[in-house]
């Protein structure tokens, strides 16, 4: 990492912001760990997800689909579809971070909502790199530790329904979706997708309704042009 040409005061400000967002975000790995073992994953599988996948919404999606009785394949497909937004983040970050080779391959793992949000607004490559790495690494370390703590705690608790952990999954998805609902097209998309999914629940295998809802995004994207008023990624927690 090169931070040459970066004013020390600017640098420490970026580091402070990155640590703040990183600590706030990383700790909610606890909820993921608890929910994942509640969905029937082993502690090892739960931790492997946080290490390998390392993108919260996709991880919650995989365990959510499994918890609802979906097949591992439909859970995996839903997770991968949700992971496509990281590709868009990468496109925006590539010219700013300006990495190649092994650094790009290593840095890619840290491309998530928060690390993107904390670096896309920077005006220079050194500033963007400091923001990206501070946020990304802090979250990676804490998210994985918190996942382990949550998974062990969740296993010790026993039946997740007693503690309402099955309700926690829906709340987690809603919290991830919430900032996007300020935009009207997003609200219409969300309502239509929810309606399509619920309509399919009685007539298709578990996991299919969620995947099919991606068709709503496709349809509305084609029929309804114009920009989105909401920022994505958004970090205000």
């Amino acid at each position: 990492m090169s931070s040459a040409g970066l004013d020390p005061r600017e640098r420490s400000g970026i580091v402070r912001d990155g640590l703040g967002v990183g600590i706030a975000t990383g700790t909610y790995g606890i909820s993921f760990g608890a929910v994942a073992v509640g969905a029937g994953l082993s502690v090892a599988q739960t931790c492997a997800l946080s290490l390998l996948m390392f993108t919260g919404a996709s991880q919650f999606a995989l365990v959510g689909v499994l918890a609802a009785g979906g097949t591992p394949l439909s859970g995996a497909l839903t997770a991968v579809l949700l992971g496509t937004r990281n590709t868009l983040y990468g496109l925006r970050l590539a010219p700013l971070l300006d990495w190649s080779g092994a650094r790009r391959a290593a840095g890619a793992h840290l491309v998530i909502d928060e690390s993107t949000a904390m670096s896309v607004t920077r005006t220079s490559t050194p500033a963007a790199r400091v923001g990206f790495l501070t946020t990304g690494i802090t979250i990676f370390v804490l998210w994985n530790l918190a996942t382990l703590v949550g998974a062990l705690g969740g296993r010790a608790l026993g039946d997740p329904r007693t503690y309402g952990l099955d309700a926690a999954v829906g709340a987690a998805f809603l919290a991830l979706l919430w900032p996007r609902l300020r935009d009207r097209r997003n609200r219409v998309t969300a309502l239509a997708a929810a309606a399509v999914a619920l309509g399919l629940v009685p007539i298709t295998a578990a996991g299919v309704p969620v995947l099919a809802s991606a068709g709503v995004a496709l349809l509305i994207g084609v029929l309804w042009p114009g920009p989105d008023e909401t920022e994505w990624p958004e970090v205000d927690r």
């Binding site: 996948m53 591992p72 868009l88 793992h109 926690a168 998805f173 995004a217 084609v222």
Partner: protein, 99 residues
Amino acid sequence: MIWWAVVGAGVACYLLKLAGLSVPPRVLEQPLVERIADLIPVALLAALVAVQVFASGPALVLDARAVGLAAAVLLLMARAPFLVVVFGAALVAAGVRLV
């Protein structure tokens, strides 16, 4: 089987991240592609909320989870942090089941 999903989807998610950093921007930077890619998480997250809360196997039900979701909505409107929203919804649902 779960291990395959964990490893397969994990690797695929990593490759999606790497693709964004590696692919020339012009390939994906078209308004339609960008708009659809932007709407996909909105649709999937909304569908996940609906199915998580209102589905029980192949049946649609209204139970303690719906009360938990209502609590989550209130907490989000009050700008509560993520963990408070998630565990708040869980506590409320657990409380409803005790009654």
